[in-house]
């Protein structure tokens, strides 16, 4: 059986620096920060107060009609991103009803807002305070079901909960589904809302930055959380060509690995294994990777491990070090959405030959001895881009995208 080639033909992004790919990309290139004081809950008793919330998100203004059932913020962000991606791909949902259309989505905490709301009610009013409608929003599969219902799709559908690499897991699995001829179209990506639990958790782990996120900077102090959703339309090359679609990039393959070491501390060796697997599965031979959209969280530990792994592998490959930048410097860490939004950035970077910057960069760190495109975007020919995603549990996934020719 001949394996299908898989291309990306639609991008949908909902982020703190822009809704829709135009705004998002314009602001990413200019290095705009989406970080602001938290407004969705009171942080006066937390040690830190900033995050990348999306302040102006209205699902209704994107989808234009009322969804069938009520749902939580993660589903809202996801559905918004799917609609934007389908519009961008110039695909009408009606055209999809008769086919198998995969809906593969990654998330870290999913509809955690339902849990938080229920906990608050429970603490106030006990069992009687628990609202069945809110409770039923919690299971993560709701997020894909809402998309399937909205567009009357028949699946298959999957929810990957591999924490902060989940977007890449979903895109990778979607790529496999098309490549193996099990579907012609897959909507794949990731989403996560900003949440009290994650904000409190990273504060308690002492890995939350007081003000700004400074990936690869010597004085980096940790992550800032963001929120958002990124969805991509993947389809077979034949189908894309037949309908004269604009092709952003071809998916060459993806790598997976597991640190098998610690729940929260990233290992350089696991990152190395993952990038190596990605490069190997993508069969790029001695072609160069021109740009790496880094995981780059801004924690001392992650950025050091990631830099080490990149240097080690590319020294071995002998193809020279790619440019490496972190969009988390602008968006904060959007968790399950992070690698999906990263994949969207790679597509746009490939199309424009521009690498988005790592903002807030002040002091070089000898332990992160990479060209992280400090503060200002750079024009650079990008044929192949690597998109990194690493997660709690050492669940790693990296994606390789190439300009379509």
């Amino acid at each position: 059986m001949i394996k299908k080639r898989v291309v990306i033909t639609g991008l949908g992004v909902v982020s703190s620096i822009g809704i829709g790919k135009e705004d998002f990309w314009a602001h990413l290139k200019e290095g705009r920060s989406g970080i602001s004081p938290v407004s969705s809950f009171d942080t006066s008793r937390h040690q830190t107060h900033n995050a990348g919330e999306i302040k102006n998100f209205s699902l209704a203004s994107i989808v234009g009609r009322k969804p069938i059932r009520a749902f939580g913020r993660c589903s809202e962000l996801s559905l918004g991103a799917v609609e934007l991606a389908l519009n961008d791909a110039r695909i009408s949902a009606k055209d999809l009803n008769r086919e198998s259309v995969g809906v593969f989505l990654g998330t870290t905490l999913g509809e955690v807002s339902s849990l938080e709301q229920s906990d608050r009610e429970y603490l106030k009013n006990g069992i009687a305070g628990l609202n069945p409608v809110i409770l039923c929003q919690y299971p993560a599969m709701n997020i894909v079901e809402i998309i399937l219902d909205f567009y009357a799709l028949r699946g298959p559908a999957r929810i990957f909960t591999t924490a902060c690499a989940a977007g890449n897991y979903a895109i990778g699995a979607g790529y496999d589904l098309i490549r193996q001829n099990e579907a012609e179209v897959v909507l794949a990506g990731g989403a996560d809302p900003f949440s009290y639990i994650a904000f409190t958790g990273f504060n308690q782990l002492r890995s939350y930055a007081p003000e700004k996120c400074q990936p690869f900077d010597k004085n980096r102090k940790g992550i800032l959380l963001g929120e958002g959703a990124g969805m991509l339309v993947l389809e077979t090359l034949e189908r894309a060509l037949a309908r004269k679609a604009d092709i952003y990039a071809e998916v060459l393959g993806y790598g997976l690995s597991c640190d098998a070491f610690h729940m929260t501390n990233t290992q350089s060796s696991g990152i190395y294994d993952c990038i190596k697997d990605a490069v190997c599965k993508a069969s790029i031979g001695d072609q160069m990777i021109d740009y790496i959209c880094a995981h780059g969280t801004g924690t001392p530990y992650n950025d050091r491990a990631e830099s080490q792994a990149i240097k080690q592998l590319f020294d071995e490959l002998g193809t020279g070090l790619p440019l490496v930048s972190s969009i988390k410097s602008m968006l904060g860490h959007t968790m399950g959405a992070a690698s999906a939004i990263g994949a969207i950035s790679c597509c746009l970077a490939i199309n424009d030959n521009i690498v988005p910057p790592t903002i807030n960069f002040e002091t070089p760190d000898p332990e992160c001895d990479l060209d992280c495109v400090p503060n200002v975007a750079r024009t650079h020919n990008i044929e192949i881009a690597l998109n990194n995603g690493f997660a709690f549990g050492g669940n790693n996934a990296c994606l390789v995208l190439k300009r379509f020719t």
Binding site: I68, M141, P156, T161, Y196, N203, L256, F392, G393, G394
Partner: protein, 413 residues
């Protein structure tokens, strides 16, 4: 190129009816129910006080305290099942094979307990007093990651959270990792732990059996069914590509022929017909497996006592097998173990492996008044009648319409 064949070479079970595959299979054969009074948390103020709790489980019976540090109940149930499966397969992870090995787990509610505890601590005290050790368990891939960390499995680690379908979906992911990504062995399965947050959620959502009369009975397909008996458990299988399994002389329990998933979207202003998704999943699985409905000897149904769900499944099965003169045997082990959600599909698959291995079919309990209309005898049959099971269909269907089916077959070279 022919698809690689994927076989089961090891089984690990931690369930409300027994720890270890033999105890599990024996209880299924004997019809020994796992539904019992809940002791893990206080249920005295609720009308439902029973569930499929694993009362005799203590992680420390299986692992050192150091291995279990910061691991929650779901992590411990799963790690125990994974160890037992790896031992059963006599598979040892080494530096040499670790990159061709992986982990793929279905888990949907396993993070609920720690998430809720962490959240409530932060809300009721001060955020800065919330226990940071709980936080890593608020991610849904925590339990699966414990397997990789403990056994040093470095090839990949995935968690899928599609509810009742999650276990079979994780097995599908594992099969694909072997077929398409060159993996040789995947530790695949599902887990769910019984927690107060989960129990209260299902209770308040009105999904549990016994809410009105306090009597918890798990009676799938029975006309008196009134909801599910919630339970916990972990089921893990060792999946290998057949050639490498044979090369190392592994015992083979059965072959995974195919897995397929589908969904029945909720139409606007209409009632959803969930059975459409189930029909597509079962039909798709048969098609992928390249076999006919008549080749199925036994259906391990999803039926869990849900009033609508069981009726839809019965309808779907009748549609898929409508041209058959004789229906396959049909049973749901959830009558015995209850609904263990993400673990449920895997435990049904393991029941299938046991039925093939030991030539038994699970006892039928709690099922007297069958079906909606005139029930066919096959829905009532409780004995396999000595006929050995060669091929079984395993169903996993979510309340909301996601459907996954799998086919397991007796191994033949």
């Amino acid at each position: 190129m022919q698809n690689k064949r994927v076989v089961i070479t090891g089984i690990g079970v931690v369930s409300s009816i027994g720890i270890g595959k033999d105890a599990f299979w024996q209880s299924l054969q004997d019809g020994k129910s796992g539904i019992k009074p809940v002791t893990l948390f206080d249920v005295s103020n609720l009308s439902v006080r029973e569930a499929g709790e694993i009362s005799d489980f203590n992680g420390k019976d299986h692992f050192s305290s150091k291995s279990l540090i910061h691991s929650d109940r779901a992590g411990q149930l799963l790690l125990t099942a994974a160890q037992s499966a790896l031992n059963d397969a006599r598979y040892v992870i080494s530096e040499k094979n670790t990159y061709e090995s992986g982990v793929s787990i279905g888990a949907t509610f396993s993070a609920l307990s720690c998430s809720s505890q962490f959240d409530r601590e932060a809300l009721s005290d001060e955020p800065r007093f919330a226990n940071p050790a709980l936080f890593p368990n608020t991610v849904m891939n925590a339990a699966a990651s414990r397997i990789s960390i403990h056994f040093k499995i470095k090839g990949m680690n995935t968690t899928i959270s599609t509810g009742i379908c999650a276990g079979l979906d994780a097995i599908d992911y594992a099969v694909k990792a072997i077929r398409y990504r060159g993996k040789k062995m995947i530790v695949a399965g599902g887990v769910e732990d019984l927690s107060e947050a989960l129990f209260l959620g299902f209770y308040r959502a009105g999904l549990l059996s016994g809410i009105t009369n306090g009597k918890v009975v798990s009676c799938p397909f029975d006309s008196k069914r009134d909801g599910i008996a919630l339970s916990e458990g972990a089921g893990v299988v060792i999946l290998e590509d057949m050639e490498s399994a044979q090369k190392r002389g592994a015992k083979i329990y059965g072959e995974i022929l195919a897995i397929a998933s589908a969904y029945a979207p909720l139409p606007r202003n209409q009632r959803r017909s969930m059975s459409d998704g189930m029909i597509d999943a079962m039909g798709g699985t048969l098609r992928l497996a390249g076999i006919q409905p008549k080749d199925i000897d036994y259906i391990f149904a999803n039926a869990n006592g849900s009033i609508e769900g069981d009726a839809e499944e019965e309808k779907a099965i009748r549609a898929v097998f409508s041209n058959e003169k004789k229906m396959p045997l049909i049973g749901s082990i959830k009558a015995i173990i209850g609904e263990s959600l993400s673990a449920g599909g895997v435990l049904s698959l393991i029941a299938g492996a046991g039925a093939i291995e030991n030539n038994f079919s699970p006892a039928r309990i709690n099922c007297q008044n069958v079906g909606s209309g005139q029930p066919p005898s096959d829905f009532q049959n409780s004995k396999s009648g000595g006929k050995s099971i060669q091929t079984a269909l395993v169903n996993a269907f979510c309340f909301s319409g996601l459907s996954t089916s799998a086919i397991i077959k007796r191994h033949s070279a």
